[in-house]
């Protein structure tokens, strides 16, 4: 692989006065217009939906139409304030196109609409980090309540809202958790492009997600929502106004996901540099591509389902209400048709990051490249055929169950390919136990437990006891948190020094890892036992005999939260105060993003590079006619 890149000038602030900078399309205007838009929508909603047309609103003192229109108006105002309407309107007026916005204005460009994919990547990292923290605080509140076997600290209804906010926030934010920050930043660089295919859409996906997160937290002003992150009907319809916040949140997340996936696919398919064939693509880019396919195909289903739920709540349609001709099964099926590909959206980037980092830290090429790619594509394809395993005991037609048991069991086979590739890459390697590598190894440990517990759940007979219990909680926390979040931190420690040019404090990083790994397992391993002992999910009252185990889990969870605090302290100290420059290629990676200067110039490359191999050119080649096995296949 050969590249040419010269150091380019860093963006300079334009030197305009502060008050002039505040006036215009930026975050401040966005917030003001957002609030204004909210009240406009609310007012329109009150005119439509009150006194007469919707009789129930007088009895319940709640106006769902007003809230939904309010949120709609708020998001529209927010986006207009940021400047997203400028380009379409200026084109409608016949002005020439402007491809790039705000790309040279210093730190201000991080707080508005910027079409530089690198800026969007960092915006995503900070934005998702903040909401991840909010979700984590909710988790601490959940575990504090579960120290007691009856509702003590948190009322039973508020507990359900806290559980719902935790789950929805994590699911909504972490689906873009890797693609948002790291794919946006590095995919164009890795494929030798100067930008993403649709830079403005890229910025839009970020700001939609931020608006969504804010809307979810605002649910507490409207009474919270009692359904948990799955939003099952008919409880969804029965809920107070806070349910609309959830509906709006997930609809915006769905739109953001679909656009993000679309952008990734278009970029990877059309903008690869000369010589970069599909079989030379970095494995991380393959995982992003597979994830993008899932996002584009599954997210629209969620948006449509939530629209139906909103219609049921406002204008009294009966999509999901049995009395009116609808079915409670319809929601479950529609939701999980999205929901299952969604969890693979969470899993696949983890695969990609681990397989991308392992060659660097074992000094060997990636073992089984084609096998890994077929594993990812196999998971992508099969993930659409398994969703009914969430409905095994719900009363679906009994003929279907053996089929979905089979399909769910089979999906563990391509997942197993990834593990074989991990093991093959480790074989006889030269492992350096850097912090990113530690997180990758922890990923393997955690995802193995998570994946195996998934196979246990896929068997219908065992699922009878374990469905809706803490066993399922342990399973998905091991795969999503033990898998994705650990690989997310691996990517942070690996790539953030490149993104910022600053290094982390090594000792704090190691403390973070070990404390997180040990407390994570201490928190979630006993949950398998709690599930087998019969504790249902989403309850704040449980059998008194389970209190000891719950106390242990809660204390471990607090330690886990503390380990996150160590990470935050490390980040703040290293990035803001200490600001030690990082070596330009500390990990001695041969991947292209480490060959360009730091900070990466605005246009990435002065000359588009050409590729002649994949980036895994590590290791001493086998001696001709010698003892090592030949590199057969890929």
């Amino acid at each position: 692989m050969s590249t040419t890149a010269e150091s380019a000038s860093t963006p300079q602030p334009t030197g305009r006065a502060l008050w002039r900078r505040l006036l215009g399309f930026n975050l401040l205007s966005a917030v003001l217009l957002g609030v204004g838009g909210y009240y406009v929508g609310w007012f329109i909603g009150r005119q439509i939906g009150f006194e007469g047309s919707f009789h129930y609103q007088a009895k319940t003192d709640e106006n769902d139409v007003a809230l939904l229109l309010g949120y709609f108006g708020g998001v529209a105002g927010f986006l207009i304030g940021l400047g997203f309407a400028n380009y379409p309107i200026s084109r409608l007026l016949g002005r020439p196109p402007s491809l790039r916005e705000k790309e040279g204005e210093g730190i201000g460009r991080y707080f508005g609409l910027c079409t530089d994919h690198k800026v969007v990547g960092i915006q995503y990292l900070v934005g998702i980090g903040v909401f991840f923290f909010v979700g984590g605080l909710n988790a601490m509140l959940i575990r504090a309540e579960l120290l007691h076997d009856t509702p003590t600290i948190v009322g039973p209804n508020q507990y359900l809202s806290v559980v719902g906010i935790h789950g929805s926030m994590m699911m909504g934010m972490m689906t873009s958790g890797v693609l948002g920050p790291f794919a946006n930043y590095f995919v164009p660089i890795m494929i030798g492009a100067r930008r993403m295919a649709f830079p403005r859409v890229e910025a839009l996906t970020f700001w939609l997600l931020m608006a969504a997160g804010f809307i979810l937290v605002s649910t507490i002003f409207f009474g919270g929502f009692p359904t948990g992150w799955t939003g099952y009907e008919p409880l969804n319809d029965q809920a107070v106004m806070g349910m609309d916040s959830y509906i709006c949140f997930f609809a915006l997340v769905g739109i953001s996901m679909a656009l993000l996936g679309l952008n990734m696919m278009a970029t990877i398919i059309t903008m690869r540099a000369p010589g970069l064939t599909w079989s030379r693509l970095p494995i991380f880019v393959w995982s992003v591509f597979a994830t993008a396919i899932l996002m584009v195909l599954a997210a629209p289903m969620l948006i449509a389902t939530l629209l139906m739920a909103a219609l049921d709540r406002t204008i009294d349609t009966s999509f999901f209400i049995p009395g009116g001709g609808g079915s409670s099964y319809l929601f479950q099926n529609l939701f999980w048709f999205f929901g299952h590909p969604e969890v693979y959206v969470l899993a696949l980037p983890g695969f990609g990051i681990v397989l991308e980092l392992l060659p660097v830290f074992t000094r060997k090429p990636l073992w089984g490249y084609r096998l890994a790619v077929s594993g990812m594509l196999g998971v992508t394809l099969l993930s659409f055929f398994v969703w009914q395993h969430h409905l095994f005991v719900s009363g679906i037609n009994a003929d279907l169950r053996p089929f979905y048991m089979l399909s769910t069991e089979i999906i563990s086979v391509p997942t197993g390919f990834i593990f074989l590739c991990v093991m093959g890459t480790l074989w006889k390697g030269r492992i350096s136990a850097t912090v990113p590598m530690l997180f990758c190894l922890a990923w393997a440990f955690n995802f193995l437990i998570g994946g195996t517990s998934g196979v246990v759940l896929s068997d219908v007979a065992t699922d009878v006891q374990l469905h809706g219990s803490f066993f399922v909680m342990a399973h998905f926390h091991y795969t999503i948190m033990g898998g994705l979040v650990f690989s997310f931190f691996a990517a942070i420690y690996y790539w953030v020094p490149k993104m910022t040019g600053l290094r982390f404090n090594e000792r704090l990083a190691k403390w973070h890892f070990w404390l997180m790994f040990i407390s994570f397992n201490s928190t979630f391993l006993p949950l398998f036992a709690l599930g087998i002992m019969g504790m249902p999910r989403r309850v704040s009252s449980y059998e008194p005999s389970l209190q000891g185990l719950n106390t242990w889990v809660s204390i471990s969870a607090f330690v886990l939260g503390f380990s996150m605090l160590i990470f935050i302290v490390n980040t703040v100290c290293s990035m803001i105060f200490a600001r030690q420059p990082a070596e330009s290629n500390r990990w001695r990676s041969k991947s292209i993003e480490w060959q360009v200067p730091t900070p990466v110039p605005v246009h990435n490359f002065d000359q588009i590079p050409t590729f002649d191999s994949d980036p895994y050119d590590y290791g001493t080649p086998p001696v001709v006619g010698g003892a090592q096995p030949s590199a057969a296949g890929a």
Binding site: T60, D61, T152, G155, F577
Partner: protein, 226 residues
Amino acid sequence: MSVFAKKVLGVSTAVAVLGVLIGFYIASWATSFPTSVASTFNPSAAGGGTNLTLETVAAIGRKYSPTHPDWVSYLVRSGGKWVHSTIYKVPAYSVVHVTIYQYDSPTGLRNPFLSQVQGTIGGTMTLDGKTVDSINPEEASHTFAVPDLGVFVPLPGVSEEAKNPCEEAPCETSTSDHRTITFSFRTGKKGRYRWQCFVPCGAGYLFGNGGPMQTLGYMGGFLDVV
């Protein structure tokens, strides 16, 4: 510290302060309970024990609930006033005498099985002075039920043609039409027992089971047996 670092620090501090405030707001909302009201000691009642006096109203009114004035609710008598709470403290291993003034109109039980009085002493209740063991399920307006103690008491409603319905809480027996129900039950060991209404009286919500039915302080709460 460079200018850059100062700017970032300023913004981060502002964001952190905002975050902490949001955190406190969420936590304080999540951890708010209605006040706990103790039953009053009544040594002269049959079998000793304590008294608990409740009333059910068709609309709680703006004074007690500015955001949801039209919600049905229970109120409890404490210190000579009607208090908007559904958490009651009663002693363990004793008898609780309950008096309920029912001001709301009927909705009808979703499950007519609950029209029979269960779990009270004698298996009966006194309705406007008469001893009964069940009511017409269609006349039920609310129930007082503590499932873990096996107590299910249906409360019949005030007729639709009543001349002086109580419009808004607090309701008084001297001014509005009402039904008076009394019963007694025994408590066992200590614990926090939930109680709830089983009539779908959450008007405007799906199946009548939303809103006040799912909010503490209105149609469900706790019996803290201490």
